[in-house]
Symmetry: C2
């Protein structure tokens, strides 16, 4: 941020909107990265965290559903920049299959299982309507995917060995709605 070589827990806390003690406790979970009296070396901390988070390497991603949000995700530079590479996009709509999104061709969802066996993607993004989401999750899990990020606004279940996270934007708006109704109390 300032081009400093080193940064203190207090400065990190200010940037992240938390407290210095919190930053130190969190980092101490992984080990001791700081130097007393000085703080943390920005470059050493950054590379240690990248290592710990598994960001040194490339992760391959498939996107299921090439609609509005699926297309936006497929073309999102923020993923590529961070080492997440879209290796496949799938849809059931013949009008979308065969189209191209940021260099990746949209393929028929019937190819999903065989492609996953072949490409061995690490992560699947689920961007289909809520009604179809569980079915697609079951299919990618069966084909071997162990990490899923879901955008459909519906609860999903996965086996224990699979990590599932969900982004629920409508819920976010409902939380804002509640905050607005209860503002100034």
């Amino acid at each position: 941020m300032h081009g400093h070589q080193t940064i203190s827990s207090g400065e990190l806390a200010a940037q992240g909107g938390t407290t210095s003690a919190q930053v130190r406790k969190d980092l101490s979970f992984f080990g001791s990265f700081g130097k007393r009296g000085l703080g943390y070396s920005v470059s050493a901390l950054s590379s240690s965290l990248r290592e710990i988070l598994g960001l040194g390497r490339q992760w391959n991603v498939v996107i299921v559903g090439a609609g509005k949000i699926g297309a936006a995700l497929a073309q999102y530079e923020g993923f590529r920049d961070r080492g997440f590479k879209v290796v496949g996009v799938y849809d059931e709509d013949p009008a979308r299959v065969g189209g191209t999104l940021d260099g990746v061709v949209v393929r028929d969802q019937r190819e999903l299982e065989s492609d996953i066996m072949k490409l061995k993607p690490h992560i699947a993004l689920i961007a289909v309507p809520a009604e179809a989401a569980q079915t697609l999750v079951d299919r990618v899990v069966k084909a071997g995917v162990r990490a899923i990020l879901n955008f459909a606004p519906t609860p999903l279940t996965v086996p224990e060995k699979v990590t599932l996270r969900s982004v629920n934007m409508a819920l976010e708006l409902e939380i804002l709605s509640y905050a607005l109704v209860n503002a100034g109390e």
Copy 2:
């Protein structure tokens, strides 16, 4: 779900992936909605919660940034279905200004302040590049918006009276990355 008239805390918990005690404690924060021995009336609970969350009414939303994610959000039916209406979309790119997204015309970001004063939207969605996000947040706050949902992967600050929530998809992927690296330990 089953067409039941009534539902127990245990069934709600199973659906939401939590525990029955948790459901009852959470609901008790707002009042007593259940009948002992029977559970909760689905319709009464649903309308009470809609009331409490402020979902009876329509909330007007402006979207700042008509790029890939902004366009997807502008056309997202899930928002309209839940009473969130997109009343304006803004961009700085002349190639996008004047275009139409789901019936809403994209307007020049220079009109942002005057439009907000006029339309009085309740919520702003920020879908511009990270570098521009804080500036746009400051502008919509100054113009009177009290609730913001941010999609740019950057920390933002707002005055205390304003509610800010952020959706950080790259962070979600990093969490999955960490889970994959530490799988089976």
